[in-house]
């Protein structure tokens, strides 16, 4: 038998195979169980011809593997070439909605306070004069009580003008310590314009514990605003008046647009007014049955729309209530 001729013939057949089937055909023919080579190998009795035939088989198998790999590569290349696309064409989108910007900010505020160990309390929006004014030691002559400022349903029932009635409800419901925030809708008889809406969202913070001071209020607002507006922020307190806090302050935060250097957002003062605050008035504690000699507290309130407008540069707060998707989808 001319094994060199056999090897050459088989080698040519393998090299000529252009499909997996042709290749397999060549394998069966030259290396299969019934091939001349297999039959001859089965009959080998001496070492010399064994070495020769195994050598032929080994080389043919290697050639076969090599050819198979080449064919697979070519097949894959063909597949890639067929499925090539313009990857810059638009994708097949899943539908996407959005939380309202005000909810996004509300959740952000809630999450900051949850991280500070506060709970979220939500009271009713229709409330009585006791919870909205009396218990909060609001003077009978205070302008906020006037029907020109407040929506009354009757002499006794009204739409809450701030979230502060939640302070009273929370304190009426249990003993200190209390660390809570209460976000929600409030109502005032303001004629709608770019910065006023008769319905608006407030969030209020109340802490009642032993030994709380204005310094704790300062530290809490500082921590909060740094988490909301960045670690560079500073806060300051200015004297003010609210019926239910004593001392009362307004607090400002350094402008997060210009960093305090002065810009149109902060009216070139470097500071942005954020809200009212103070130490809980001892008479408020008396109204809910807490002993002001034992307990002390602080509270502060913020407007959610204001934060959204300042941070995102929205010029008109009425946009929040229009729900124009061209606007909502930006945030």
């Amino acid at each position: 038998m001319d094994w060199t001729g056999y090897e050459n013939e088989a080698g040519s057949a393998i090299a000529a195979a252009s499909t997996a089937a042709e290749l397999d055909e060549a394998r069966v023919r030259y290396l299969g169980r019934k091939s001349e080579l297999a039959l001859a190998l089965r009959g080998v009795r001496d070492r010399e011809s064994g070495q020769l035939l195994n050598g032929v088989r080994g080389r043919l198998e290697a050639a076969l593997d090599e050819r198979r790999a080449a064919l697979e590569r070519a097949e894959l290349e063909r597949l890639y070439a067929e499925s090539a696309v313009d990857v810059t064409l638009p994708g097949a989108r899943f539908p996407r909605g959005r939380l309202h910007l005000l909810t996004q900010i509300r959740r952000e505020i809630e999450d900051i306070f949850l991280g500070l160990g506060y709970e979220v309390y939500e009271g009713p929006e229709v409330t009585d004069v006791w919870h909205n004014f009396d218990a909060l030691t609001t003077d009978p002559g205070h302008p906020s009580r006037s029907p020109t400022d407040t929506f009354y349903l009757s002499d006794e029932v009204l739409l809450r003008t701030h979230t502060s009635p939640d302070q009273i409800r929370m304190m009426e419901s249990r003993e200190p310590p209390i660390y809570m925030i209460s976000p929600g809708r409030c109502y005032r008889r303001d004629t709608p314009d770019a910065t006023h809406s008769p319905t608006f969202l407030q969030v209020e913070c109340l802490a009642v514990d032993r030994g709380l001071t204005l310094a704790d209020l300062q530290g809490t607002t500082l921590t909060f605003f740094r988490r909301l507006f960045g670690p560079e922020r500073k806060v300051r307190m200015r004297t003010s008046y609210f019926p239910f806090t004593e001392p009362s302050v307004e607090f400002d935060v350094t402008c997060f647009i210009c960093g305090g250097a002065g810009c149109p957002v902060c009216k070139h003062s470097g500071w942005i007014e954020m809200g009212g605050a103070g130490r809980v008035d001892p008479d408020v504690f008396r109204n809910v049955g807490y002993d002001p000699e034992v307990w002390s507290g602080f509270a502060f309130g913020l407007g959610i729309e204001r934060i959204a407008m300042l941070r995102h540069g929205l010029p008109d707060l009425r946009a929040f209530w229009d729900n124009d998707l061209r606007v909502l989808s930006q945030f």
């Binding site: 539908p95 996407r96 909605g97 959005r98 939380l99 309202h100 909810t103 949850l114 160990g117 709970e119 939500e122 009713p124 929006e125 229709v126 409330t127 009585d128 002559g141 029907p147 020109t148 929506f151 349903l153 009757s154 006794e156 310590p177 660390y179 809708r185 109502y187 008889r189 319905t199 802490a207 514990d209 030994g211 709380l212 001071t213 204005l214 310094a215 704790d216 300062q218 530290g219 921590t223 806060v235 300051r236 307190m237 200015r238 004297t239 008046y241 004593e246 001392p247 009362s248 302050v249 130490r279 001892p282 008479d283 929040f320 209530w321 229009d322 729900n323 124009d324 998707l325 909502l328």
Partner: protein, 764 residues
């Protein structure tokens, strides 16, 4: 409140740049809106171009009948020629002149120019041209004692800064220049001048007939009589101060009352005594239907709640708010009755609300003015009437209820630190309080509150604030020492967030719509008696209408794909005092009923709730397709409500959350293989697929793990009036592998039950 700084400095000569003073006032006392420079600009030596001058010669302009040609000595070697349109002066008059190059308050720059052929080197000034008054009838005539060439700014208040501040409800004392001066004195450690005014000599002792019938609303009434009053113009310094404070000069007598109100914070009024019937003052309630024409020219009809100042016959003023036109001081007035009274705050507030009136006096009474101040105001005004109007002070009466008294409060020295968190020494506390006019005596801190703060400072904590507000800039930032933590959302709050997230994940945008709507389907919904507008009138019991409005807005804006949802309160009438507020979720989506239902199904699935839907009429809308589900409904919207194919839903979240399982228990769906079967049933057209599914579940029990409708077919093979409903069933047991016989048995149960209940025939 507008505070001319030159006036402020008359009471307190602080040594601080104005901007720094404003900055510190903001921390300790009140908002400062801005600092306004008024009068003649003083940049680039402009003030130096305003001089005192003496008229050397004044003749008619050769080319103009209505102009004078003047030569005036302005302190230079040669007199200047100036053309002037006024005729209230002649040679020898001492006048005010602006030289060429001078810039007037209105921004006009003067230059040497020809007027009808004659040069005019500047301008002889009228008071309105330098914002010292409003008069333009003639030029200002100055005291002849002033030398020509004297800078005009040395003689007249040509320029001033004005602090515009906002005062809090609790600080009536800051509605006066003297009160602000007191604050500045305390803030800067500067001495405060004694209150302005010295009692003039009483020329006679005529009786003043004042009777107060309502001492509660008028706790004090000082009446003073002045004769030989020469009503005329106020001096320029006074006019300038009034203008700087934002009030118009009227006449010396009226100006004095306004000036003293601004100086001391206790409003006054001047009556023409001759026009008071019987020469009397009676402070009483209005008689029903009584009328008065007030100074603003309006004829007002008074209710019996209104407190009036009356003469023997009729009201001559609405107490604390506005005087009457008929008793007004005029150029002919010679006898004046000066009222320095005190009116109780709530009475004035309510009268103002009822009569829809607003005045400078009223805004002060509404904050509560101390009755003690009336005395100081009467004294200062008397002095000025004598000095400026040549009046003789001839009568005085003071009708007063017992004064409310000034509280004495004990301040424990440690309380400030307890509130503020910084140590403040007892001496410092004592000094700060004393500077504000509190009397601090005895051992420890026994503090007597001054009259002007008696309404606001009643308790120890109020004194704490009086000290603390001067240290706010130094308060450090600390955090509470916590013993207990609460940082977790409640179950309902977490679920509510989940509902929002699931809807957002399905492509819905969250909307915020108003709680107050023009209408509501519930006839008992709460209605505002006095709404701001008809569009925001009713407290809603459904979120649907707000969303429909927003959907419409988007369609009109050209947005095609609209899917909106809202989570908010509704306000359900209860018949009790307060409504029941419940959380609802509602959605409106383009594409019809099945899109809305799909969203709700996903929501129910995520919440772990059963899908139960049954055809039902909509609770309040006409709807071509509507299903009731747990806590709410899903519906196709009537095209009259929203044009096109729209689906909507609304669910009561409280009802939904009540059924959400506390925890989800593991079911084994992995160990034993499921057996899947597709079965098609022919049934009558009117049989709802949902009932087939429910019946199949009942029949097969817990081994029917899943069942869903995957096709509904109508056609000749099924027959007229019938449809084929194809169901995909998955049988699976958690305990064993279901054998073919088990599957056959379960299928048999389903087929038998649907046949029995609905006449359903299994199709091949």
């Amino acid at each position: 409140m507008k505070v001319p700084v030159s006036w402020l400095r008359e009471y307190v000569a602080y040594d601080l740049p104005l901007a720094e003073l404003a900055r510190r006032l903001v921390f300790t006392s009140c908002e400062v809106d801005r600092i306004v420079r008024r009068g003649v600009p003083d940049a680039d030596g402009n003030l130096g171009r305003f001089r005192v001058a003496r008229v050397v010669e004044a003749i008619k302009h050769p080319n103009a009948d209505r102009l004078q040609l003047c030569r005036v000595d302005v302190g230079e070697a040669e007199p200047l020629q100036i053309v002037c349109g006024a005729w209230n002066f002649g040679a020898g008059a001492t006048v005010a002149v602006a030289l060429p190059g001078a810039v007037l308050p209105n921004g006009v720059a003067l230059e040497r120019r020809k007027v009808r052929g004659e040069y005019s080197n500047g301008m002889i000034l009228a008071e309105d041209e330098v914002e010292l008054g409003t008069d333009h009838a003639g030029i200002m005539l100055l005291d002849p004692a002033h030398e020509p060439g004297t800078p005009l700014a040395d003689v007249l208040p040509l320029a001033d800064d004005v602090l515009e501040i906002e005062t809090g409800y609790n600080r009536p004392d800051l509605t006066s220049i003297y009160g602000i001066a007191r604050e500045v004195a305390a803030l800067t450690g500067t001495e405060l001048a004694p209150p302005p005014g010295a009692e003039p000599e009483r020329a006679d002792d005529e009786p003043v007939d004042v009777q107060v019938e309502d001492e509660e609303r008028c706790p004090r009434y000082i009446g003073r009589l002045f004769r030989d009053v020469a009503v005329g113009d106020s001096p320029l310094w006074l006019k300038a101060r009034l203008l700087g404070a934002g009030m118009r000069p009227i006449s010396n007598v009226v100006d004095v009352t306004n000036y003293v109100m601004l100086a001391l914070g206790s409003p006054l009024h001047a009556f023409d005594h001759a026009k008071l019937a019987g020469g009397r003052i009676v402070v009483r309630r209005a008689r029903g239907g009584e009328q008065i024409r007030t100074l603003d020219g309006t004829l007002r009809t008074l209710a019996t709640e209104e407190l009036v100042i009356a003469d023997a016959e009729r009201p001559v003023a609405v107490a604390g708010i506005m005087g009457g036109a008929e008793s007004e001081v005029t150029a002919e007035t010679t006898t004046v009755l000066l009222e320095a009274a005190n009116f109780e705050q709530l009475g004035v507030l309510r009268s103002g609300e009822r009569l829809h009136m607003r005045s400078e006096a009223q805004t002060r009474w509404e904050k509560g003015v101390a009755p003690e101040l009336a005395e100081a105001a009467a004294l200062h005004a008397s002095e000025l009437l004598v000095e400026l109007a040549g009046a003789r002070f001839v009568g005085h009466t003071d009708v007063a209820a017992p004064l409310p008294g000034r509280p004495t409060i004990r301040l424990r020295p440690g309380e400030v630190e307890r509130a503020v968190g910084i140590a403040v020494g007892e001496d410092e506390q004592r000094e700060r309080l004393a500077r504000l006019g509190f009397e601090v005596g005895g051992d420890g801190l026994e503090v007597r509150v001054p009259a002007w703060r008696a309404r606001d400072v009643r308790r120890e904590i109020d004194l704490v604030e009086e000290v603390a507000r001067f240290r706010l800039e130094e308060v450090p930032a600390t955090l509470p020492a916590r013993r207990e933590m609460f940082g977790r959302l409640s179950r309902e709050q977490r679920l509510r967030r989940l509902v929002g997230d699931v809807l957002v994940g399905q492509g819905f945008f969250e909307a915020y719509t108003y709680s107050l709507q023009p209408d509501d389907p519930n006839p008992d919904a709460l209605v505002l008696p006095e709404p701001l507008s008809e569009l925001q009138r009713v407290l809603r019991t459904t979120l649907l209408h707000g969303l429909v409005g927003s959907a419409r807005l988007n369609v009109n804006a050209g947005t095609d794909e609209v899917a909106l949802y809202e989570i908010a309160h509704v306000y359900l009438p209860t018949g009790e005092r307060l409504p029941e507020e419940r959380w609802h979720v509602a959605g409106v989506v383009r594409g019809g009923y099945f899109r809305a239902k799909g969203a709700v199904e996903t929501l129910l699935e995520v919440l772990g709730l059963e899908q139960r839907f049954a055809a039902a009429p909509h609770p309040f809308l006409p709807s071509p397709a509507c299903a009731a589900t747990e806590g709410g409904w899903v519906a196709q919207l009537d095209p009259r409500l929203l044009d096109g194919e729209w689906g909507a839903f609304e669910l009561d979240l409280d009802a939904l959350f009540a059924r959400v399982p506390e925890r989800v228990l593991y079911r084994d769906v992995v160990t034993f293989p499921p057996v899947r079967e597709d079965l098609a049933f022919a049934v009558a057209e009117e049989v709802p697929a949902g009932e087939l599914v429910a019946a199949a579940r009942e029949a097969a029990g817990h081994e029917l793990r899943e069942i869903r409708v995957f096709d509904v077919y109508r056609g000749p093979q099924v027959g007229e009036g019938r449809k084929s409903v194809a169901l995909a069933l998955t049988f699976q047991s958690a305990e064993r592998t279901l054998a073919d016989e088990d599957a056959a048995r379960l299928r048999g149960l389903v087929v038998a039950e649907l046949g029995r209940r609905f006449g359903a025939e299994l199709r091949a």
